[in-house]
Subunit: 152 residues, 2 copies
């Protein structure tokens, strides 16, 4: 990992919000939250996390890398499914604790492990005062059982 | 708060990912991560968090409510600035630990406390192996000093 980042604790509020130094504010677990969107449409594909290594690898290689919290390991997106993400732009927010990653989704165009384009394939609706989920109709672009085995 | 949510710990993986019960998986701090995007353009406006109360109020009122981690209190977006957010749609992701909130941004159209439309007004670029920030050129739609006082 050759890219290092500025130390946010050494910066003023003004420097953090308006400056040109990239000083990602990793949380207590060493992670920043990442919203990955599709170039062109701005469709939100997924929400994930990066540690410093994943962030540096993403910038260096131009291919999205994350930190898998469930598997507790570095995760090159698409390493199993083939659904890699080519980085178009990486943005940070005012207080530098979040990232927007603009990508071209390769493979079958499915960012979600369920085989859909986006992880956000259900909307919340109110029915008789209860919150229920409705499928927004995103088709499955692959069968998870074929890609990940019987238990995705 | 009249809306209650299903208990995700009582559900199978299959029910959580493909079912119709809304069972938000609040983290250890009682929060889910929320990506707020603009209806129509899909522009990412901000990233924030909701606790159960903020989520229920958002669904009930159709106006975005969050949990402010820095102030440790319920936060009706725009209560100070007037930049409220009218909810168009609320979606959840495969494992129900994240929310996409689709809104119409009211007021001057500035979701960010710096007065810009979006909090993500800087891109990360590499220059001589170092990561630096470049302003993407989003204009300030209000002056934070006028809206929040001298120290926003």
């Amino acid at each position: 990992m050759s890219i290092s980042f500025a130390d946010p604790t050494a910066m003023t509020h003004q420097q953090l919000e308006e400056g040109a130094a990239f000083a990602p504010r990793f949380d207590a677990a060493g992670l920043v939250t990442v919203v990955t969107i599709e170039a062109g449409t701005n469709d939100v594909l997924m929400l994930a996390h990066m540690n410093a290594q994943a962030l540096a690898l993403t910038l260096e290689t131009g291919v999205a890398h994350y930190w898998s919290r469930s598997r507790a390991k570095l995760w090159k997106k698409g390493e199993t499914s083939g659904e890699t993400q080519q980085v178009v732009e990486l943005r940070t927010d005012c207080d530098q604790d979040a990232i927007v990653l603009v990508v071209n989704q390769t493979g079958r165009g499915a960012a979600c492990h369920t085989g859909r384009k986006s992880c956000f394939y259900r909307r919340v609706a109110l029915a008789d005062g209860a919150a229920v989920l409705q499928d927004t109709g995103l088709p499955r672009l692959f069968d998870p059982a074929n890609v990940y085995g019987a238990k995705p």
